[in-house]
Symmetry: C2
Subunit: 394 residues, 2 copies
């Protein structure tokens, strides 16, 4: 019989998708260039030429049985080696190829990570504001996502609330740094403190607590800084990565799971991912994208536009009176709305053709998300709309 | 904590994989060209030039935001339309784009189909001999696979056994035509009779029974025949397809689910697939492969070598005394072993560097599988090994 569980989900509309559809429809009325569509986190810069060149080289001159052939279920061995070596060069880690499992983007990586270390009924904690897709990603595994309230002053971790919610039912903690929707990266101090709490609670509970680190925005970092690498702080860390944002190719569905060798069972966990794949129909990312991404894994697309956009918006909005925690990276920011009801706030913004997403579904009512992966020229034109909006409504 | 369920699976070795690893190791000793490796079902012909040309055209001149951008979760609308139109042209069906859901190969398609129409605890029936990966594919969803014994004379359906096992607990029936491992395609009579049984039992049980048709080998057909299209016989059919074999690109992970519009809720089911994706981390096949495969969906690679190989092996083995149901397609055949213990039989064959897979894991002890996606020249050389094997051992 038709699954009631999935049929019921059809009526649950995504706020982001609804707003994006509104923006498209409005664009047909007034020209999409006049809609200040800040709804979608969709990379706005092209993939690097080196990646396209590598794809073409592989297709034109590669062994067709390798380029179009089945990849081993854990990924192509040389690809796993290259990614381990790149991580080790950049983060001083000690991965081997055997610790890497190739996936179809971060969604594929997370689907494996959750199943690796939780069973149905277990709890996974994450921190507001958080990416709302974590709800179906986790709850459909049978585990249960619980959301720790935000630390609104800095979007680091609210440790009081965290420790209260960290009961023996919790078997994994999920972080996203730098974060969708806040753009904030966890500091070394935050990660150190987090690791300390997890280690203490593992001892108290007598069972392992795994840290799952979702880091597709790891390479989009501002102000010339580097951001701390989560796995460096805690041995039982499973890093979930996607090249979607760093190489600007979300359609290519290529990413990986990297299991911290300090946990002592990293190769076993990577191998277990291959078993999980059999149940969820994963069966490797494309061989072609594995080969090309591994070749380009030290590159990024030209990501500088996101910092340019962030600066324009941050300066303009703070001077209009918005409270914003300054993003350390990504292409998001998460200002406080000018009234307590962010849904009402975002609805009013539509009158000025500003498409903003209320923070409620991110676990932070009263705030809103701006996805500024948009042409800079449009960002600049939108400032006047923000000015008119604030002047007229607040 | 680390999942016991998936950890336990690590000790379960795949017979096919073990034999394939043996063949590789043996190849290092005597040269792989001297190992008659019939273990793996891995396409042995290159993808068509038109497909590679299309990939290169898209990468070189396509809009990078389309080629490397997020696909909608159900697939790119124009791609879904093209595939529906191709099916309608070829099979006289009436699909719309909305009935098609793009997937990462057949494994991805099946992962969605099972979840669409069964809940944990439900039974799915399939027919021996069957592809052994159906076990983890289905059992890890929480549903339960049960295997109907083979009709050994023709590898059609053993209807007596089927009707006995078709209890009210069964909510879906899974077929694979033409079949891995037998190479046999179901006849119109078989599909007609199957549809009749399902319709009668739906009435008797008062609930729907869905037919899930796994058809990655649909385009590899011998003797100039066409094979019947399963969905034409039964309204509640979900067809699961992969371009892996027809276009010879298993590494490209591109396929689809097509829901028969005659079921009345086809677009709803295709849309539900997008919800299932959120729980299993599927999130679309690559945009690039969607676009290229849709453009080539009426083409195939040069598949004629498989028929050539089948004829050489079929003639040689039958003249050596093997009983074989002549394959109608695929690159498999499934002869009866020359002793009742096919495991012992295949072990003896190793002495002659013939790598054959015992039928036990396919649900048909006493038989063995030959995957003849191998160079014809090697097939010809293997005949002498078969002759020496049979002469010396039987």
């Amino acid at each position: 019989m038709i699954s009631e569980q999935y049929r019921a989900m059809l009526s649950g509309k995504s706020v982001i998708r609804e707003l994006s559809e509104y923006a498209t429809a409005r664009g047909k009325e007034i020209g999409y260039e006049n809609v200040f569509d800040y709804s979608l986190g969709n990379p706005s810069v092209p993939a690097p030429k080196a990646y396209n060149d590598k794809l073409i080289e592989l297709i034109s001159t590669g062994d067709p049985m390798l380029v179009h052939g089945y990849s081993p279920s854990l990924g192509i061995p040389a690809v796993r080696e290259k990614i381990a070596a790149s991580l080790n060069r950049r983060f001083g880690t000690d991965y081997k190829g055997a610790d890497i499992f190739m996936t179809s983007g971060a969604a594929g990586a997370l689907a494996h990570a959750f199943r690796l270390v939780t069973a149905p009924g277990d709890e996974i904690l994450t921190f507001a504001p958080f990416f709302p897709e974590y709800n179906p990603y986790i709850n459909l595994t049978g585990a249960k996502l619980r959301v720790v309230p935000a630390s609104f002053a800095d979007f680091q971790i609210n440790f009081d609330a965290f420790e209260q919610m960290l009961t023996p039912r919790v078997h994994a903690v999920l972080i996203n740094t730098p974060s969708n929707p806040s753009g904030v990266a966890y500091t070394s101090e935050t990660l150190q403190a987090l690791a300390g709490v997890l280690a203490a609670k593992e001892k108290e509970f007598g069972h392992e607590i795994w840290l799952i680190s979702d880091e597709p925005y790891r390479e989009i970092v501002f102000d010339g800084k580097t951001i701390p690498y989560a796995a460096a702080f805690y041995p039982r860390t499973i890093s979930c990565y996607s090249f979607s944002k760093s190489l600007s190719l979300p359609g290519d569905r290529i990413g990986y799971v990297a299991v911290n060798p300090a946990c002592g069972v990293s190769a076993m966990l990577a191998t277990m991912c291959g078993q999980i794949s059999r149940g969820i129909g994963h069966n490797c990312p494309t061989a072609l994208m594995q080969l090309a991404a591994a070749d380009c894994c030290d590159l990024t697309a030209d990501l500088s536009v996101y910092e340019t956009n962030m600066n324009i918006l941050y300066d303009a909005l703070t001077s209009l009176g918005f409270e914003i925690v300054r993003p350390g990276g990504t292409f998001y920011m998460f200002p406080k709305a000018l009234e307590s009801d962010a849904v009402a706030f975002c609805k009013k913004a539509l009158k000025y053709d500003l498409i903003l997403v209320p923070g409620d579904s991110f676990g932070a009512p009263g705030y809103f998300r701006i996805a500024y992966c948009v042409d800079t020229e449009k960002i600049e034109r939108s400032i006047d709309a923000f000015k008119r909006f604030v002047a007229a409504e607040y």
